[in-house]
């Protein structure tokens, strides 16, 4: 058992935790967090695969690593968009707040 395999297995367990969070969360925020935990686990498996592919003088295969960098940024965008939707949804559910706009203007 090498450290790399260990991180791969940890990634698998993290993905499992993420799935649990996604399925069992009580609200939207919990689901978004679960999704991010799941993503972190999958990225970590990518990391183990990249590390195993060390060759040609590189410590790790750069292609999966570059994909993960792109993935982290895209996952962040998706998270932020989902959060914005959640906040807006909450505002709509809370009903119209006529003084909201006025208070904003005063700022």
């Amino acid at each position: 058992m090498t450290g790399v395999t260990l991180f791969g297995l940890a990634g698998a367990i993290l993905a499992g935790c993420g799935v649990y969070g996604l399925l069992s969360a009580g609200g939207g925020l919990g689901r978004i967090l679960g999704f991010n935990v799941l993503g972190g686990g999958v990225f970590l498996i990518f990391g183990a695969v990249a590390r195993r592919g060390a060759a040609a003088g590189f410590h790790a295969d750069p292609v999966p690593q570059a994909l993960v960098i792109t993935g982290i940024v895209v996952a962040f965008c998706a998270t932020a968009l989902a959060l914005a939707l959640l906040v807006r949804l909450r505002e709509v559910e809370a009903g119209p707040a006529p003084d909201d706009g006025k208070r904003e203007t005063e700022r």
Partner: protein, 106 residues
């Protein structure tokens, strides 16, 4: 010799990580306020900086120091965001943004 030194630095990093994580876990389960948990995360971040500093000579990669600099630079970001998420300024009781509670419930 160098190999043994690296091993000892790894051991130091392991101890540091486990000690702070044990403290975090104890505080987390103690059931205090969220501010205490924020402090525990802050301690974990500080230990993370130290671990990165230890890893740089242990793994023989000076670029790890850049990650330590980044972590130290962003160490205060979460605490500031936590502060901003509370809302009101310390001086006066300001109502939170949005409607009062009785309007919020449909």
């Amino acid at each position: 010799m160098a190999r043994r030194m690296a091993d000892l630095l790894f051991a130091a990093g392991t101890v540091l990580l486990l000690v702070t994580a044990a403290g975090l876990a104890a505080l987390w389960r103690a059931g205090g306020r969220d501010a205490d948990r924020m402090l525990a995360i802050q301690l974990l971040g500080s230990a993370g900086i130290a671990v990165l500093l230890l890893l740089a000579p242990a793994m023989g990669d000076a670029a790890i120091l850049d990650a330590a600099v980044l972590l130290a630079l962003l160490a205060a970001l979460a605490a500031c965001a936590y502060r901003a998420s509370i809302g009101a300024s310390a001086g006066a009781a300001r109502p939170a943004r949005g409607a009062p509670p009785e309007l919020r419930r449909p």
